[in-house]
Subunit: 150 residues, 2 copies
Amino acid sequence: MRIGELAQRGHCDVETVRFYEREGLLDAPAREGNGYRNYSSDHLAQLNFIRHCRSLGIGLPDVRVLRSFQQHPESACDAINQLIDRQIARIHHQVESLRLLEQQLHALRETCQAKQTASACGILQNLRHAAAGEPCTCHAEPAAVQGQQG
Amino acid sequence: MRIGELAQRGHCDVETVRFYEREGLLDAPAREGNGYRNYSSDHLAQLNFIRHCRSLGIGLPDVRVLRSFQQHPESACDAINQLIDRQIARIHHQVESLRLLEQQLHALRETCQAKQTASACGILQNLRHAAAGEPCTCHAEPAAVQGQQG
DNA sequence: TGAACAGCCTGTACCTGCTACAGGGTCAAG
DNA sequence: CTTGACCCTGTAGCAGGTACAGGCTGTTCA
């Protein structure tokens, strides 16, 4: 199959396929007489593998590592487990940070409910105060965040 | 004050300050006779404002928008609220995606508990199956994810 | 015969939000 | 007179693609 079909079946962009080839993640395919790339079903499996890893947030260097494990089936899987564990820790940390961020944004948002002028807007006031080094609603202690509304 | 002091007081890198100036987020300061940048306390407030917004995950274009609101205090704050609401929605979506991702990684991780060879490793098997279009543990339905362990 | 159009090619620039140099100037202390 | 801290401009790099420019190929329709 040609690159367009591969991309479609792999649910990604043609440019992305070429990018993966350049990055050495996807084996370079045979070429037709006119120079067009000609892919086999194995290439589709490779692409699906990459996309699946990417959908799990695994970075390209780690995808490369996992591919190399596939090519050496006799090697110990210990490193695979560690790779996934690192990934889990990373994602967990991101989730925690973003949850905190969401709380902060909600606290900030609640300081302005009505339509008014920018100068009276609690959101801008908060941001201004924070810039001046004064305490702000959004970065208050979690307990204070809860009770900030009165 | 000079750029080093400003950066230190704003808890960021000297390069970052210059970057903000290039991007038009921070007003260009006066220059000393030798060409060194000379900042006022207003610049520090500007920098703090930017850093505070950034700590809330607000992108540079939106920081620019917020700054322009500060410069036009008579304008309606409606757009500010919408900006923050969009930000909340974006972060919320990210949190949800990452939580799902974390679940998927845990499900994947539980398919391999022991040290074995890569070919027998449940994690790699899962990834291979997914690449072949077969169902995988990690992207199973949430209910199935819970009960996958037995 | 030819014109339009989809699809492919290579190569390079762009995106975010910085970070990290290279290569050079300034200024105070020892 | 040298060392070292600080500053300057300009450019390249990171991840993971995305988006062209400029050109070739191959089919279809008139």
